[in-house]
Symmetry: C2
Subunit: 347 residues, 2 copies
């Protein structure tokens, strides 16, 4: 399954009912952003994130760690946690495994994540080892601090960058906690696709087969196939909505940059293969016009379209798995998308 | 009836199906903007404006004149028409009664407007007289240039600023053309409400009772009542959607500036009186958060809300007219809205 990203208690430009309409059963919320604005206490007062944003399907919140390491300034990390200045008002904040649990308990998502350190992929073995072992200890502390384990499933996050031995140790440490699910972190952060597949190849074997496996931050069609084939069940990514707002549409026959002049008078559907509101009601020429005139409806329609493309792809994958045709589906989809063309425009 | 404004073939931030859901049966499109982008020829190729923007309800297009007089540079007006530089790419363009008809025939709206000169309210009697007489001649030329009078109803526009005699002459000139409807132009352009009511008082009597009367650019609740009472049937205004995007909500109990800090933890509905998606699914605190974090969904929800407020107000007025209770409704609505409070925040 694929989870659209709703960073600030909203999947950008979409109503909750529109998300349901395109088949989204799960969205992701960002703890870091919600902690700062409007604050987890306020969301708790509202009755939790589901109620605050009117989303009656499932939610997963991350731990806030990734944003602390990618957005915040003046970070310092110790065994206890991370001190940093936030990127909104510059005030100093402190995030620890316990704080991340307190915030996520307040937000009330269905799946919550342990705090881990988002280690850059090409750090030294010694640093990654130290960090990964600390993240495993943080998982233990998160479990102990978790106040409502019957309502919220706590996932651990396997780290270890590209080091087989560290990934193995991390997976085994977390598996020993018997958590309801496991994420694989520290991938899709700049390493090659071959490299990511190599890590997945040797990491998933150490994770329990009967627990969901979640690969964080992946949303390109070829990577989704590569990862599902290697045993991954869950994904999230800002890609479909972020490129949508720039005018890039994911279609069956590859990327369509709708702002391109050639679509000015193209009165064909956005994607004849798709059943969403945007694809069935509007032409490429109309969406070109909306982007050309900076109309807000452009972002909404393009986001609906791209998310439906990915959600439908996951539906097709699930059906193919049932029928043992996943490899056939992969070949067909990637061929049509243009992954095999020398000059294909992908993302 | 009230027509939401869809300047560039979209009512800003709203899907056509959302407009239908809130009871909009008619929208207005701006000829000036559509002529420049994407061009009326392109819209004709798309099958007309209804099809281009997927709107299967009615559309009225203006003549483009108002925007030429309010947005364009280097205007020069002669008997033949207006030459100007457009505000998008600065190129020189020429608009005449015949060109305005050609464009509007291409756009294919259900009601189309004659080209007139939008005269400033406080011009001299001599200038207004000259201009109003020319506008009446332009109405005649528009009628002669109209290519599809069975599909598109051409409305004339009464001008004459605040001069009783000029309004009378203008109305009589137009009435002699036996057009399917009449607009009153040159009001709501900076004159006082008392002044506008005075002009309506002496203008409507010269317009046929069996033809619709359209007051252009009016959307404040008190002015809508004042005008309906004086015999006006149709309105359009950017007010509800424009103030929505700034965070101003029109509610039963007056204007709510949702960006105000006091709404941060106000978990009440936007407006308990309204039945639209925004009012029934989201709290003031949530909308405050969306505006506070510059989320695109804010503009959509606030626009749905304000348009539904006005469309519902018109529904209530129609019912009140049927029951001969319009004055009672006016008193109740304006009292609740706060028009009688000394420090009321209106618009």
């Amino acid at each position: 399954m694929f989870m659209p990203v709703g960073t600030q208690a909203t999947v950008k430009s979409l109503q909750p009912r529109e998300l349901k309409e395109i088949g989204s059963q799960f969205i992701l919320g960002n703890t870091y952003h919600l902690w700062i604005r409007p604050g987890d206490d306020l969301i708790a007062k509202a009755g939790g994130l589901h109620k605050f944003m009117d989303w009656d399907q499932a939610i997963l919140t991350d731990s806030g760690g990734f944003q602390v390491f990618s957005l915040a300034d003046s970070r310092s990390i110790t065994e206890k946690g991370v001190t940093f200045k936030n990127n909104i008002d510059g005030s100093t904040m402190f995030l620890s495994p316990e704080v991340a649990m307190k915030i996520q308990n307040n937000l009330g998502a269905d799946i919550i994540m342990q705090l881990d350190e988002a280690v850059p992929y090409f750090e030294t073995y010694d640093y990654v080892k130290k960090s990964t072992e600390r993240s495993a200890r943080w998982a233990q502390r998160a479990l102990e601090a978790h106040k409502c384990s019957k309502q919220q499933a706590l996932f651990g996050i396997v780290q270890g960058a590209g080091f087989r031995k560290l990934r193995e140790n991390s997976a085994k440490d977390l598996a020993s906690l018997n958590l309801p699910g496991y994420a694989i972190g520290g991938l899709s952060v700049g390493e090659s696709k071959t490299e990511m597949n190599r890590v997945l190849d040797f990491t998933t074997q150490w994770l329990p087969e009967n627990k969901p496996r979640y690969l964080m931050g992946v949303g390109a069609p070829d990577s989704l196939f590569d990862s599902v084939i290697r045993g991954i069940d869950m994904f999230d990514c800002v890609l479909p909505t972020r490129i949508a707002r720039k005018g890039s549409l994911m279609t069956r026959f590859g990327r369509v940059v709708i702002t391109n002049h050639k679509y000015k008078d193209d009165f064909s559907q956005l994607d004849e293969n798709l059943d969403d509101y945007a694809s069935t009601h509007f032409t490429k020429a109309y969406l070109h016009h909306l982007f050309n005139t900076n109309e807000l409806l452009a972002y909404n329609l393009a986001s609906i379209h791209n998310l439906r493309y990915l959600l439908k792809l996951m539906e097709d994958m699930r059906a193919a798995i049932e029928n043992d045709q996943l490899l056939d589906l992969k070949e067909k989809v990637l061929e049509e998308y243009g992954y095999n063309k020398a000059n294909a425009r992908l993302f």
